[in-house]
């Protein structure tokens, strides 16, 4: 039986209202401003919980840290190789890509994640 907790609701809410694809520590630092006694372990446990429940996405961007995304609708991600920021890219064919891949693979394809790498608009204007 799942019980409510202030910590979990704060974490769920924090993730739902930000679009910067934070790491566990970023969520921890943010929550600590309103609940100073929360522990990092609790943040990790609840982020894992949310991912397992399907209420958050786990992103592996290649920087050695796990990032989290409160937007569970299928979409692509862009990672800036200069500043490390992560943006969402919504474009059509997001469903077709699996269908196409299925034709080239004999197993069952149920999901996918696509990361684009390059220079974000902000870093681009700095040169």
């Amino acid at each position: 039986m799942i019980k409510r907790s202030v910590q979990r609701e704060l974490i769920r809410n924090n993730l739902a209202h930000r679009t910067d694809h934070p790491t566990a520590d970023m969520v921890y630092q943010s929550i600590r401003e309103e609940l100073p006694n929360i522990s990092l372990g609790t943040v990790y446990r609840n982020l894992r919980f949310l991912v397992d429940q399907g209420d958050a996405l786990s992103l592996k961007l290649g920087d050695g840290k796990e990032h989290f995304d409160g937007n569970v609708n299928p979409h692509f991600h862009f990672i800036c190789t200069q500043c490390g920021c992560v943006d969402d890219i919504f474009m059509p064919s997001i469903d077709e890509i699996c269908t196409t891949a299925s034709k080239y693979y004999s197993g069952d394809i149920k999901g996918h994640s696509t990361y684009f790498y390059g220079t974000c608009p902000n870093c681009k204007t700095k040169h």
Copy 2:
């Protein structure tokens, strides 16, 4: 100035002749059979070297370990969520996907990685 070493050539060769997308430790165990004194640090250093040189790909599959791919030609990857195996998927549109994404994003997109998740043919037949 880059110097040759037996260790580096063995690692490069090992990666080139396998398609199972091994972790550093898997390469280490494999090389140790012919060169028992090689150290794990050397394997890590040389895999990083090969990736930096563009002679190997680094894959973040979500299992917390870095995987390596000696095939640097652009292709998609399939990861079995049951056994964890990794297969290559070669299909068209691999170049188009960046072009399409560029139309939906104002930054410079220079590369991408796409992982498909599901059940591999081997695990599928077990049920």
